[in-house]
């Protein structure tokens, strides 16, 4: 039962119409808004880097970068509108990357 959704999407005989589920293309306006958000975030991250916050500089820079990355992934790359299978796959990939880096720090974190 779990994968009904995945497979029912494939039932459409005419490939042109079973695509993209029930929504049409994202509007120019919406995409441009996302772009504007990315620009603002870029400005923020550059501005914050001029202020010395110590360790927080790294946290803010990476935090802002991750928000930007999420905007790109969810909207420009349409992940928000994909089914849960693709979403789960993307999550898996990032989890594996995090594990690789995280477990390496079990070594280097205690050695350097």
């Amino acid at each position: 039962m779990t994968d009904t959704r995945e497979t029912t999407q494939a039932t459409g005989q005419d490939h042109g119409h079973d695509h993209g589920q029930d929504h049409g293309p994202l509007s120019y306006r919406f995409l441009t808004l996302i772009w504007a958000g990315l620009m603002v975030l870029t400005a923020i991250t550059v501005a914050v880097s001029k202020v010395d916050l110590g360790f927080m500089n790294v946290a803010v820079a990476l935090g802002v970068a991750s928000i930007k990355a999420s905007l790109v992934i969810f909207f420009f790359m349409h992940l928000k509108y994909e089914n849960w299978i693709i979403k789960g796959m993307v999550l898996t990939a990032f989890v594996i990357l995090a594990i690789a880096i995280g477990l390496t720090f079990v070594d280097v974190g205690y050695r350097y």
Binding site: G24, V72, M77, M89, G109
Partner: protein
């Protein structure tokens, strides 16, 4: 369990997209190996990375960020344009994207040339004699931005190819998964830069 799957001969859009996403994961993990090195060496040489970051030009880096994000927007817009049947607009947007890729590479060239001018050439005596950690910083800088640059060139070439397909009518408003996948690839190129920019230029 009434499940119905794709008929035997059928152009499966979801398969194409799934395949593309899986391929993008390999790109993320390819760069992931370098991010792992960056994180480790940064932990080892915080001061050297601090000094190294200061020598990079935030203006050029920031400009390239704006260029890439804008090119990401135009690719996203081009899909909407194609689906709405605005073929000429779509081609213009894609051409603009390729132009952004060119701009990015020109900026990169200027930046690298300046580094070479200061004797920061991989494998050179000067690099080897830098304080411990600094040469690692520049080594990573060249490796990561270099690999990213190669991806910019590949991505732009793919977009040029899709423009040709649109022109030939092989990619249309009804059959546009090739453009979508090319767009996905281009967004990944953007995504990597979104992290490279703060890691090299801002954290100093």
């Amino acid at each position: 369990m009434a499940e119905v799957a794709a008929p035997l001969v059928h152009k499966d859009y979801h398969a194409s997209k799934m395949g593309m996403w899986l391929f993008l994961f390999t790109e993320i993990l390819l760069f992931g190996g370098l991010f792992l090195l960056y994180a480790s060496y940064r932990a080892k040489f915080p001061q050297a990375f601090h000094e190294g970051g200061k020598t990079l030009d935030v203006f050029i880096g920031g400009l390239n960020t704006v260029v890439l994000i804008t090119s990401s927007l135009t690719v996203a817009l081009s899909i909407t344009a194609l689906r709405r049947g605005a073929l000429v607009f779509c081609q213009c947007l894609l051409a603009f994207t390729v132009a952004c890729a060119g701009t990015f590479m020109v900026n990169k060239f200027i930046e690298w040339s300046a580094k070479f001018h200061h004797g920061l050439i991989p494998g050179s005596e000067h690099m080897a004699q830098l304080p411990q950690g600094q040469s690692v910083f520049y080594g990573l800088y060249f490796a990561m931005t270099g690999l990213h640059g190669i991806h910019v060139i590949i991505g732009a070439s793919v977009i040029l190819w899709v423009m040709l397909l649109i022109k030939q009518g092989k990619v249309t408003g009804e059959d546009y998964v090739v453009l979508e996948n090319a767009g996905l690839y281009w967004h990944i190129v953007d995504l990597v830069w979104i992290y490279l920019f703060p890691l090299f230029y801002l954290i100093s």
